[in-house]
């Protein structure tokens, strides 16, 4: 038995993705910056994918910069915007529940003299746009708030925050890595100047992501080199992964969200019935369709996760980036949990391939292990 409930960490690549990558690696092996026929063939694969990604985001192809993933996209947005602004005493606003690649990039800026404000969240992880408005100062150059949280699935009011930023003439960056293709999102509706996405959360390959950069946005490159991607991201493009990214987008279906939400709710209801005292982390309704995060009653999550793994059921204590760390999750602390409660928390994240039989089996296994511990 293999029941994979760690899809917020990464997903199994779709067969169509593997086929597209294999085909591209065999046929389009030229460098997409080369001017000869094989280079143009590779460039065609890249441009087809760029167009697919742009269409999925409501953007123009020229507004898409391919990167190595969400972490690089977030770093490029935050550090690149601050560098381009170039002002001493610049100020950046982020939320308290951002992915480490946003929080650490902001911290890195802080070490270089940029002032950073962290806006808190309510007990379900939702950012209040009014709190963002209060954090804005005359020196604010950038606000970064994620679309959907990687640990507790909170879907943030990014359109409202984006509109606020646009009104103030401040850049708005949104990390949409968890929500891309799962929650409706359009860069215009989000009033986003920059938006990060990656492929491996939607059954695409690892090592490929993109940053949407609205036309006219001042952004400095972080990598020096050949000036690919309009000078914003040097480095030979990973053509097969880019083709796989587009295949993953094309294979996604908005109707999957409904099915995932239904199974996620079924799992939560089964756990509530079977495990007295279990509690939900994060919001009930404004929540990513595939995310469930719970506090277990009276036991740390790691021993349970180990036993589940031994039984072929895979989940995580928190985000993949922090689950191997011993410190409590910053996201869970930000919603008001104690370090002990954070250590008792567990994330179960579904994919479009998760079945009813699997969630029922997972609920039974969790109940059985907790009952026997």
């Amino acid at each position: 038995m293999e029941i994979y409930l760690d899809n917020a960490a990464t997903t199994k690549p779709a067969p169509a993705v593997l086929r597209a990558m294999s085909e591209c690696a065999r046929r389009c092996y030229g460098n997409p910056a080369s001017l000869h026929r094989l280079g143009v063939e590779a460039a065609k694969a890249v441009e087809r994918s760029r167009r697919a990604l742009a269409e999925a985001l409501g953007a123009e192809p020229d507004e898409i910069v391919f990167t190595s993933g969400g972490t690089e996209s977030n770093n490029l947005a935050i550090k690149g915007a601050a560098r381009a602004a170039g002002k001493r005493g610049a100020h950046v606003v982020i939320s308290a529940v951002e992915h480490p690649s946003v929080a650490a990039a902001a911290q890195s800026l802080e070490e270089r003299g940029v002032r950073v404000s962290k806006v808190g969240v309510d007990c379900t992880g939702i950012v209040d746009p009014a709190a963002v408005a209060r954090a804005i100062r005359p020196a604010t150059i950038l606000v970064s708030v994620m679309h959907a949280n990687h640990e507790i699935g909170a879907v943030e009011p990014v359109s409202e925050i984006g509109r606020l930023c646009r009104r103030h003439g401040i850049l708005f960056h949104c990390d949409a890595c968890q929500s891309f293709t799962k929650e409706p999102l359009d860069v215009a509706k989000a009033h986003a100047d920059m938006l990060s996405v990656n492929a491996h959360k939607l059954h695409g390959p690892r090592g490929i992501g993109a940053l949407y950069v609205r036309r006219g946005t001042a952004l400095s490159a972080l990598l020096d080199g050949g000036g690919q991607e309009g000078g914003r991201r040097s480095g030979t493009l990973n053509t097969p992964a880019i083709a796989g990214f587009a295949a993953a987008i094309e294979a996604s279906d908005p109707r999957d969200a409904l099915a995932m939400r239904r199974l996620r709710d079924r799992l939560w209801n089964a756990l509530r019935r079977a495990v007295p005292g279990i509690r939900l982390n994060g919001p009930r309704s404004a929540r990513l369709c595939n995310n469930l995060n719970v506090i277990l009653p009276g036991t740390e999550s790691k021993p349970l996760l180990q036993k589940l793994s031994a039984a072929g059921i895979y989940a995580s204590a928190g985000s993949a980036c922090s689950s191997a760390k011993t410190e409590p999750s910053a996201v869970l602390l930000a919603i008001g949990l104690s370090p002990q409660e954070a250590a008792r928390s567990m994330r179960l994240s579904l994919s479009r391939w998760t079945t009813q039989a699997e969630v029922d089996a997972a609920a039974r296994a969790i109940s059985r292990i907790l009952g026997g511990s």
């Binding site: 997409p32 001017l35 143009v40 460039a43 087809r48």
Partner: protein
């Protein structure tokens, strides 16, 4: 004689992404269809028309348009 033609603005798009986009655009047209492409001077006007011809399309016209060029391409029968 005037015949309806599609247009594609590739000004500001570097090589070979401009050639790639032109080829993708022309792939979606029927044989014999015309595509008018705006291109920058320099490498783009030197590289894109030969790339189109190499794939079997006919470059019908190349005219200066401000700082750039307008290139009219007819989709080839076998392309």
């Amino acid at each position: 004689m005037s015949r309806s033609e599609e247009t594609l603005d590739l000004a500001g798009i570097p090589c070979p992404a401009n050639a790639a986009r032109a080829l993708i655009a022309i792939e979606g047209l029927p044989s014999g269809a015309l595509l008018r492409i705006s291109l920058d001077d320099g490498e783009p006007i030197q590289n894109v028309p030969p790339a189109l011809e190499e794939q079997g399309h006919a470059v019908v016209e190349k005219v200066r348009a401000g700082a750039g060029w307008q290139v009219l391409v007819r989709k080839g029968d076998q392309a």
